[in-house]
């Protein structure tokens, strides 16, 4: 296989992640190259969030190799090159904060702690807010926005860091219709500009035309990795009635008969 010219953004070799002595994700091989928009699908509890948090250093790296932009995770210091959009149902703030104030946080890792925001910083913040379609509401307080608008504020915050890869955890979950459309529009715009993305989701429908590749996880392992078209075939093959489909032999009910069971319950 010829080496690709651009180094991969993410390169996992039999990587495992978890919490403490509990391993949630194991044996994952995954490579993401510049320009790809990868949807990470899978049922609840399949380890999607643990995997992306593992990439960001938020869950423990327990084994295998993890390369971020060519650097092993342990030595990776250029955190701004990977932008993180965490899963939040709302940006519940105990104090007031405007959209601009939250998005400006994305610029902080770019300058030393003693330096105030420059004009360039402020321009990038404004541009990031425009990119998610919230320019009209830049001065609004985030708590007054709808769930989907708040989700876009978080995307803008990640964009303000000017990352090479955006990692998003469930950006469309529990979002109203107008915001779903606006969110998909936002992601489409980013993809058109060549932003690479790794999007954890379980609603592919909203993002189908943006995604270039699908990775599907189940119980801590990757069980599908391929282009969108092949995924449809994969799903069809695993649908009820297919050759993959089978019913486990129903287990007989556990025998009853403890000292407190009524005799007629035994059958």
């Amino acid at each position: 296989m010829p080496l690709s010219a651009a180094p991969s953004l993410i390169d996992l070799r039999s990587a495992s992640f978890g919490y403490g002595d509990r391993s949630v994700v194991s044996g994952v091989d995954l490579t993401i190259r510049p320009g790809e928009v990868v949807a990470l699908l899978g049922p609840n509890g399949s380890g999607k969030s643990t995997l992306v948090k593992g990439l960001l250093g938020l869950t423990e790296h327990q084994g295998g190799q993890v390369l971020l932009l060519g650097t092993p995770r342990e030595h990776f210091r250029e955190h701004t090159r990977i932008g993180y959009v965490p899963q939040r149902h709302s940006l519940s703030t105990s104090v007031r904060a405007t959209v601009t104030e939250i998005v400006a946080v994305g610029r902080l890792p770019h300058r030393p702690w003693w330096r105030p925001a420059s004009r360039e910083d402020r321009e990038i913040v404004a541009a990031s807010i425009r990119a998610v379609g919230l320019a009209d509401r830049a001065g609004e307080e985030v708590a007054s926005l709808s769930g989907g608008q708040q989700r876009r504020v978080l995307i803008a915050r990640a964009l303000a860091g000017q990352p090479e890869l955006l990692v998003m955890d469930e950006p469309t979950a529990g979002v109203d219709r107008a915001s779903q459309v606006a969110l998909a529009e936002t992601l489409r715009g980013l993809a058109a500009r060549g932003t690479s993305m790794l999007v954890v989701t379980h609603e592919l429908a909203a993002l189908r035309d943006v995604v270039t590749r699908i990775v599907c996880m189940d119980s801590g392992h990757v069980d599908f990795d391929g282009p969108t078209a092949a995924y449809a075939a994969h799903v069809a093959a695993h649908a009820p009635g297919s050759t993959y489909d089978h019913t486990d032999r129903p287990r007989p009910p556990a025998p009853v008969g403890g000292p407190f069971d009524r005799p007629e319950a035994r059958s």
Binding site: E101, V105, L108, D136, E141, A178, V181
Partner: protein, 328 residues
Amino acid sequence: MTEMLELTFMRQALVAALLAGVAAPLVGTFLVQRRMSLIGDGMGHVALAGVAVGILTGQAPVLTALVAAVFAGVAIELIRASGRTSGDVALAVMFYGGIALGVVLIARSTASSPANLTAYLFGAILTTNAGDLVVLAALTVVVLAVTLLLRPRFFAVANDEEYARAAGMPVMAYNLVLAVLTAVTVVVSMRVVGLLLISALMIIPNATAQVLARSFGSSVRWAVLLGVLSSVGGVLVSYWAETPSGGTIVLMAIALFLAVTGLAGLAARARRAAHRRAERHDHEHGPRCGHEAVEHDDHVDYLHDGHRHAAHEGHYDEHGRHEEVVQR
């Protein structure tokens, strides 16, 4: 007024009140943001043990209290970061151990009286001397400088710790610095407000500021203004009314809070009555939405089926039928 200002102790008390009124709400903002409003109270408890050690050993109580409060602040942060469920109990042991030790040690010392203890617990304008004042002023300058410099970082960490970590910020270091600043503030406010009431001056002006402000930046400025109003106003009232300064300051802060909340409620009702929301809106306007954008005073309206829609909070406001607005 001039007669009052001729008294050295009153001048000193007013300066001390000003320092506390600036520092306490400034640091308190981040405690409110992190939902740790009562942590200053715990540090105050531990600081009392420091005061007692100072009185017993003949050291300046301000300095020994500072050591005790900083120790408590760092311990709180480390216990919190360990994430153990027993952390809560450990904090309780530390806080009540601190105040109990303080009370016992002060009672044992020959140099103090019960009145002295009350002065430390609830604040007394007579207790500040010139030497203390220099230390307090220096500490306040440190708190101000560090908080203003690190404000964006404290905001980021308190707002979303997980994101801050993913972005590579030294979250633990910022939290420890904030803990030390809180401890310093406890000591700065100790003389005027009292160790048992310090938390109130950190938190209540911020609660009031939340009602008045629309952004984080303005809420910090409001909180400091309200803090200074309460502390300086409280000291003045306590002079005329011959009441303990700490309690007077806190009651002043609460009165401001109640007045502002009441007025804001009325204002909000008036605003709701005056503003119309656009009908259910399944669409987000923007540069590419296809609806024409028209300038309207300081904002942009979008023409939607002949109606003007303007972004407001999470929804769109109805700004009237286009032709009618144009004719006006």
